[in-house]
């Protein structure tokens, strides 16, 4: 054991009976430097003990040695595993100095790696160290990652995640910014649109207000319209909408009730009319002035006039409806009034005709009756001539009665109106009436003693009563019951509704009821026409009821007839009641042929009248002058030089009539008396039949007695009151 490098290893191997290694040995001096080591294994003598150091030293035979290349050992190991990115350093911990370095790989040539020197933290963290025992020497193997190793094993995933996260964040931020931008844009749009909408809403509100106002106006017009407005379904006629007037027309409480309860088909009284209207609507699309009677809510009916239009595309009907009930009633009343007017005009025509006839007829009768009486005064009564003249005179008087009746019908009689009580008239005439009606008819009087008085002409009342009783008797040819009833009645508004033409007030009624056959409607409508009669030819003049009618009307009364076939007839006559007391009629003076000497001017266009007056008055001492017209009368008046006492003039004259003539003469000689003659009193009586004030009248036909007494009456009254001139003064 010479070389110390080997000596320690040999001794170690010998003493420990184990492998022992030398420190590094140079295998090749030039680059690349290669090192190796010697490994010793002790060999002892066969069979010798070696359990102790002494024995091992003693029995040592030798060594088996091996020289190994460290570099190749390392390289061989490196060939088994890829450590290219890792630096491997092997140090001999047992050696010192340069000999410590057994092996150094320098993949990262840029840096040297001293084992314990400056290291970065990551490298410190990353390096590995292993210790192995090689033949009693400690080899430290150090592993260092190279830069390449870090490059190859770069933490890309973490960076990737970081980048990915940042990218994702960026995307999110971008998205948010875009969203914010969009939101801002949308908000701006919204704000703008909101502003526009507010403006639009404002405008809309204004429009809406205007529309509401308009709608309100139209609704008011609709509801306040004075005509009914409605809309109904076409299929069932149910009302969809109706205005207030429509509700009022049908007496409903409100529009809802109409909508729920009313339908056109059920409303029509005559369903056929509804079908006709509907057909017209379907055919022409509209209907105008369609009149129909409809039911109200309470079942009453109302006359309506409809204008309607069908909207096929909308399937409903719109229409206007008005209540024409009043119009209908007015039309009916108008028709009635028209009828009454026609009747009145007809009766007036009859009256005028009767008046005209009476005028001429009375003139003629004056001649007939007047001369008959003159002849009767001149002829002895025992002569046949007297009898014949008497017959002529009687016929003349009957003809005079006829003319009076005609005048009565024409309401142109001169009435002597006085306050009287109808009860008295009835009672006074009851006996006479009983005789008139005969024994087979029972007369019953129902007289209310409290009956009011009336203003009437007694003779006219008697005429009325008589004519009605005669009419009743005729209605009961086989007998029956006749009832005369008087009572006070009051015409109120309700009564007026059913008795058109009457006036409100207190009336006295006179009812004459029979149990006869009654009358048909046609007969009732014509019974007051003059000369209308249901009697057999020759049995009636047809003037009885027309005379009654004329008298009643002249007394401002009313006459109505209630009659049905088989149920008899009742004539109800009403006269206005008065609160005045009854005034007795003065007794009529006796008609005497008194004499006189006054100057009389007779003016009449009929010569036989003038002659009759002259023949009547001249023999009685009067100075009678006759004139056929006014001109002639003025001439005679002039010649008389104001000696004229009285003018007896016909009212109706050719040219200047009698009244004008009298007026002009009275202007010249105011004290002249005037007596008018007339066969028709229409010109000198008022509407109530009373003679005009200041007029003395003598009705034709004249008779000598009436004429003489009237002349005397007028002259005597004048003389007694004003002139007091005796008859003989002339």
């Amino acid at each position: 054991m010479n070389d110390p490098a080997y000596k320690s290893a040999l001794e170690y191997a010998r003493d420990n009976d184990s492998l022992a290694s030398t420190e590094r040995l140079p295998l090749r001096g030039e680059e690349p430097v290669e090192h190796g080591y010697l490994l010793f294994m002790p060999l002892y003598l066969k069979g010798s003990p070696r359990d102790t150091l002494q024995s091992r030293r003693k029995n040592l035979e030798g060594f088996v040695i091996g020289l190994f290349s460290i570099t190749e050992i390392v390289q061989r190991a490196l060939n088994s595993i890829n450590l290219q990115e890792i630096d491997v350093h092997i140090y001999d911990e047992t050696a010192s100095g340069e000999k410590r370095i057994l092996y150094q790989s320098h993949y990262d040539n840029a840096r040297e790696r001293p084992p314990d020197d400056e290291e970065s933290s990551i490298l410190k963290k990353m390096h590995a160290s292993e210790l192995i025992d090689v033949g009693g020497r400690s080899w430290r193997i150090l592993f260092y990652p190279t830069q390449k190793y870090f490059v190859l094993h770069e933490n890309r995933q973490a960076r990737g995640f970081l980048i990915l996260g940042l990218v994702f964040t960026s995307i999110m931020v971008t998205y948010l910014l875009v969203t914010i931008g969009k939101t801002t844009y949308v908000e701006n749009l919204i704000n703008k649109r909101t502003s526009e909408l507010e403006s639009e809403i404002s405008n809309h509100k204004l429009t809406e207000n205007a529309l509401q106002e308009s709608e309100s106006n139209f609704r008011n017009i609709f509801n306040n319209a004075q005509v009914g407005l409605f809309r109904s379904r076409k299929n069932d006629g149910k009302i969809i909408t109706a205005n207030t007037r429509f509700v009022q027309i049908f007496n409903y409480d409100n529009q809802k009730e109409v909508i729920y309860s009313f339908s056109l088909p059920n409303g029509f009284v005559n369903k056929e009319e509804y079908n006709n209207m509907l057909n017209e609507l379907v055919g022409a699309g509209e209907t105008k002035n369609f009149e129909a009677q409809l039911y109200k809510k309470d079942g009453a009916t109302v006359w309506t006039r409809l204008w309607a239009r069908l909207y096929p595309d909308k399937d409903y009907i719109e229409g206007v409806i008005i209540d024409i009930t009043e119009e209908k009633e007015m039309a009916k009343e108008y028709q009635l009034l028209q009828s009454q007017l026609l009747q009145s005009q007809k009766l007036e025509s009859f009256g005028r005709l009767a008046g005209g006839i009476a005028h001429d007829f009375n003139n003629l009768l004056t001649g007939i009756i007047g001369y008959s009486e003159l002849l009767l005064n001149e002829l002895p009564k025992d002569q046949n001539a007297w009898k014949r003249v008497k017959t002529i005179e009687e016929i003349g008087r009957r003809a005079g009665d006829l003319t009076r009746q005609l005048l009565a019908f024409s309401r142109k009689q001169i009435l002597d109106i006085r306050v009287m009580n109808l009860n008295s008239v009835v009672r006074n005439m009851s006996k006479l009436l009983s005789r008139v009606i005969g024994e087979d008819i029972v007369l019953t009087l129902k007289i209310d003693n409290a009956t009011s008085n009336i203003n009437a002409d007694l003779s006219q009342m008697e005429q009325v009563l008589m004519n009605l009783v005669i009419n009743a008797r005729y209605a009961m040819p086989k007998g029956g019951k006749l009832t005369i009833e008087t009572q006070d009645v009051m015409f109120d508004e309700d009564y007026l509704q059913s008795h058109k033409g009457s006036k409100v007030g207190a009336y006295v009624s006179l009812s004459i009821s029979d149990t006869g056959e009654g009358m048909t409607q046609d007969v009732k409508e014509r019974i007051f026409e003059p000369f209308f009669t249901t009697k057999e030819l020759g049995k009636g003049t047809g003037l009885g009821l027309s005379t009654v009618f004329g008298i009643v009307k002249q007394h401002n009364g009313y006459i109505w007839v209630d009659s049905d076939i088989g149920e008899g007839t009742t004539f109800n006559v009403y006269f206005p009641a008065t609160q005045n007391a009854v005034r007795l009629a003065p007794k009529r003076s006796q008609m005497k042929m008194e004499r006189g000497d006054e100057v009389i001017l007779v003016v009449d266009d009929e010569s036989y009248i003038r002659d009759f007056v002259y023949d009547t008055l001249a023999p009685l001492g009067y100075e009678v002058h006759t004139a056929s017209n006014s001109d002639e009368a003025f001439k005679i008046f002039g010649e008389l030089n104001e000696r004229l006492d009285i003018i007896l003039a016909d009212i109706v004259l050719k040219g200047i009539n009698g009244q004008e003539l009298a007026g002009q003469i009275k202007k010249r000689q105011p004290d002249v008396k005037v007596v008018f003659m007339t066969g028709y009193s229409g010109e000198v009586i008022d509407k109530h039949g009373v003679l005009k004030s200041g007029i003395e009248l003598i009705m034709k036909p004249l008779t000598p007695g009436i004429l003489a007494s009237k002349i005397r009456e007028v002259l005597v009254d004048e003389k007694d009151i004003t002139r007091r001139k005796p008859p003989n003064d002339a």
């Binding site: 000596k7 091996g66 963290k125 990353m126 192995i132 190793y149 908000e187």
Partner: protein, 188 residues
């Protein structure tokens, strides 16, 4: 009145806009903050995980390598033990049998050189007591190396006949000789 309403409305709108603006950008800021925070946290976690994995991988590689290296060294040691066992099984050194032994030694090691390139030399060092120095030298020369001599290296590195000692440990046999001839007879 209407103007006051409009102003109020404008103020309200402005306030709404400001709040909305802050709200919106707060969400952006929060998104950025949370996004960066999460990204950084994820990055750190991932990096930590990566480092740990890298470290583990590195340690594993180092361990494996060390194991391989240890196995290689062990194999070499085993080779040496096999050679020792071979020597022990052979006869003792004698003049007649040493040559035969030299031949067998050569055969034994030649296989090792071909299989293990890191083995540069195998040899047998004999404990030679000084009296038997020449005997062993003679045996060596007779067996395989005619010019065998027990040598030592001077301080200058020159090989010279070894000086007298009580015992010598010369390399008696060695393979391969080529390039290693200086070791033949060199006392260690």
């Amino acid at each position: 009145m209407e103007e006051v309403d409009k102003e109020c409305s404008a103020k309200n709108n402005s306030s709404i806009v400001d709040e909305s603006f802050l709200g919106r950008f707060l969400s952006v800021i929060l998104t950025i903050f949370i996004g960066v925070l999460l990204s950084a946290a994820l990055f750190i976690i991932m990096q930590s995980w990566e480092e740990r994995r890298l470290r583990d991988d590195f340690s594993q590689k180092a361990t494996i390598y060390t194991s391989i290296l240890r196995r290689g060294i062990s194999r070499n040691q085993g080779l040496l033990r096999s050679l020792g066992a071979f020597k022990s099984s052979c006869c003792e050194i004698s003049e007649g049998k040493t040559k035969e032994f030299a031949g067998e030694f050569k055969d034994f090691t030649s296989c090792s050189f071909s299989c293990h390139t890191e083995v540069k030399m195998l040899g047998w060092v004999v404990r030679v007591r000084d009296p038997a120095r020449e005997l062993y030298a003679e045996i060596a020369r007779n067996a395989a190396h005619p010019d065998f001599m027990i040598t030592e290296r001077t301080a200058d590195g020159e090989l010279v006949r070894a000086g007298k000692r009580d015992e010598y440990f010369p390399v008696f046999f060695m393979e391969p000789l080529r390039g290693m001839k200086n070791f033949q007879g060199l006392i260690l």
